[in-house]
Subunit: 256 residues, 4 copies
Amino acid sequence: MRTIDLNSDLGEGYGAYSIGDDAQMLSIVTSANVACGFHAGDPEIMADVFRIARENGVAVGAHPGFPDLWGFGRRRMPYSASEIERIVAYQIGAAQALAVYAGHRITYVKAHGALGNIAAAEPEIAAAVARAIKAVDPSLRLTAIALSELVGAGRAQGLDVIHEIFADRAFGEDRQLVPRGRPGAMIEDAQQAAAHVLAMVEARAVITIDGTRHPSPIDTICVHGDSPHAVALARGVRQRLEAAGVVVQSFVPTSV
Amino acid sequence: MRTIDLNSDLGEGYGAYSIGDDAQMLSIVTSANVACGFHAGDPEIMADVFRIARENGVAVGAHPGFPDLWGFGRRRMPYSASEIERIVAYQIGAAQALAVYAGHRITYVKAHGALGNIAAAEPEIAAAVARAIKAVDPSLRLTAIALSELVGAGRAQGLDVIHEIFADRAFGEDRQLVPRGRPGAMIEDAQQAAAHVLAMVEARAVITIDGTRHPSPIDTICVHGDSPHAVALARGVRQRLEAAGVVVQSFVPTSV
Amino acid sequence: MRTIDLNSDLGEGYGAYSIGDDAQMLSIVTSANVACGFHAGDPEIMADVFRIARENGVAVGAHPGFPDLWGFGRRRMPYSASEIERIVAYQIGAAQALAVYAGHRITYVKAHGALGNIAAAEPEIAAAVARAIKAVDPSLRLTAIALSELVGAGRAQGLDVIHEIFADRAFGEDRQLVPRGRPGAMIEDAQQAAAHVLAMVEARAVITIDGTRHPSPIDTICVHGDSPHAVALARGVRQRLEAAGVVVQSFVPTSV
Amino acid sequence: MRTIDLNSDLGEGYGAYSIGDDAQMLSIVTSANVACGFHAGDPEIMADVFRIARENGVAVGAHPGFPDLWGFGRRRMPYSASEIERIVAYQIGAAQALAVYAGHRITYVKAHGALGNIAAAEPEIAAAVARAIKAVDPSLRLTAIALSELVGAGRAQGLDVIHEIFADRAFGEDRQLVPRGRPGAMIEDAQQAAAHVLAMVEARAVITIDGTRHPSPIDTICVHGDSPHAVALARGVRQRLEAAGVVVQSFVPTSV
């Protein structure tokens, strides 16, 4: 029997602004990556998501990003690896405190946006993210894109690594996500997305765009929460997985 | 034998900006209240202060303030008591994580500036600050101005309250700090400041400007770090206390 | 023949965040109040709105607010009247420059949110807003809620005052807008809103909730852009006015 | 008879933070480059500097930088040339409005920090800065490092270019400023700095570190305001220039 986690980036609003339908997504996913106030999120939003996640039995992770509200964390900001350690540590702590405040508990960390991209591709940044987690709380799991640099960096720090694939993104022949904007990068149809990830879960491998299988644990599937059809796609993926006998559940116990 | 803690607000810079001489103050005080990035401070500065404090055996506390970098946390911002809970919780967590990152440990919380003033005077705000600490980590001590509303609020939450007086500020007949700008509010001479606090430490009482004694534990003395003569005043107060046989030490063990 | 202007608060997004459907509203209104980056808006959004407004023959005004992105400018921030002068002046200038950059021209100023509310009610704040406009460019018109303190403050500075009523808000017996949340404050039906403002335009008077007429010029009608039915309501109001023979056009020439 | 302008970056504080001694520098220099609120400066500080500059007969320029208060505008932020146009336009307008508010007038623009560095070296960024100025107000002068890419970009837009050298920085053999940290980059002695710039003013040429003369107009000398000896160095340079018969005055009339 296969089990798999479904994660989504949530709590991405700021004050009067909102992105995505957090309440709906929290009824579908099993893990919520919660923005920590640097690229999105504020204490009100964070505490709300933590509370609803607790009520729904959804695990919560810190989702640190660059301090770039204007750019929503999607731009590479000019911070050194060493500075990134402190930026990540700060955000993990803030999320931990608000999660506990809301009766929940942070169990993992996933880097957001541009920070996630460079942590996946650059060993020095990957190591910085892993060191920050290790320093703050070595019991925290590290969500890392399967086959990425971050996997090894997390293991080198002794962290429990969660291997991630994406419902709506393809892996290229170079074993990295096909950059947005390139042909085949995005998978927008729910059934196609579901089939895409189910194949990988069953194969226990990343399947690149050319069909090659690269063995890897597959622990969690990211479903995005901010596209127009996000809720439908997430629900479709979950239903298809369950129909195939895959148990959709968090990789951590979610009762606090 | 009397013992007393000396605390100061440190880490109050931001990026290229600095206020006060943190390194000097960390060689004099026994507790450092560290700004958490909302009214001052950034992850680099926070981690630096935590590291130097650890090296010097100085205890560290979270020093949360309003999200108001422009106003340095000195203005009352329009947040409800409930929102203040989350604002304080967020900042405590951020400070805890960076302290651990730097090999140190947050052992108390002291509210900054306008937040500190209203927490001292208004029961609803005092309760909010105390609830935030209780929710995040009930082992954290709460530094509260002696005789203020925050003392009772902390006790009501079961927190260990640290009673604070100020080297350079007088208490009025209403048992509250004389507002800055009023006659007698500020004590700028180091010897006068030292005598002022020594009398209270020995009397185990707050002595108001009219000479009345109001019994209260006196656990810590705040020496400000941001005035031109801050270092000299802090050093003078410490020397005078020690000359009188008072042991100047933190209220918590500082080896991590 | 009556003429009337229709204005709406636009450009209220920030980076990846958006509020309302600017493109649709710019096909309906004749004046766009453009957020200036303090409570919402950024240079990209501002320049875009100015460009589309120019293409559509829509007049543009600066819509300054408190520096409070988190609170979307809806909270009263602790600034003095004197500081408000500089805050408003800064934002007017930024808007003027980006309007010219985009081939358009700022012709009026309307205060946003909490700043607008206090400028309507408090003579000292009203005077500050008027002085800022006068100092920066006395040819700028001042949009002021009809019968409010801001009308007199603008006139006292020699400014050309534009008298404003609201499609979806009622005036109370005290001649001020009924606060949101009170019974009768909001008018959500497009036909009712249209009838509400048409009556005032034809009467050349503010008609309060009890039916009393208070003579006042009526120069512009605010239609909000951020509610779910904003576009439909704005379109309905415009159609009803035109059907009644009212010419809907800006109070300024809009060709640059 | 030679005439030369002395400029300095001023108004670089933020709220309670300050950098440099603006009042002293405004008694020495003839042009003040005023931070516009993105990397430093706030409306209070801006208006104050404009007012004092007016009283002292000092010309004022907008000194736009990247939106990076944390990094004081010294880091290259990830904005495209097109976005930089809007960022610069916004800041020019804000400065213009507050200058007029304070009874003064912006007469030039000089890019700050990392933005200044890349505008000097990269044609695309240089063109963006020049286009922003041209679009907002083509009567504004453009201060450009002598021999830099920005000189040509300004001329291409028809702007009046002010050629700048630095009292405390050497030009390398590549005709660009020697990067900080390299040997010979900084000139810290006031007499040496004075001799350095006087030679260039008299030669009507940039003299690189190897002694080569590159003919160029020399219109203004930048003296930094934020180093410990800034005031002494600025005063020393001015005195030496005047002793050599050079008239130190702004390149624009400064009575408004």
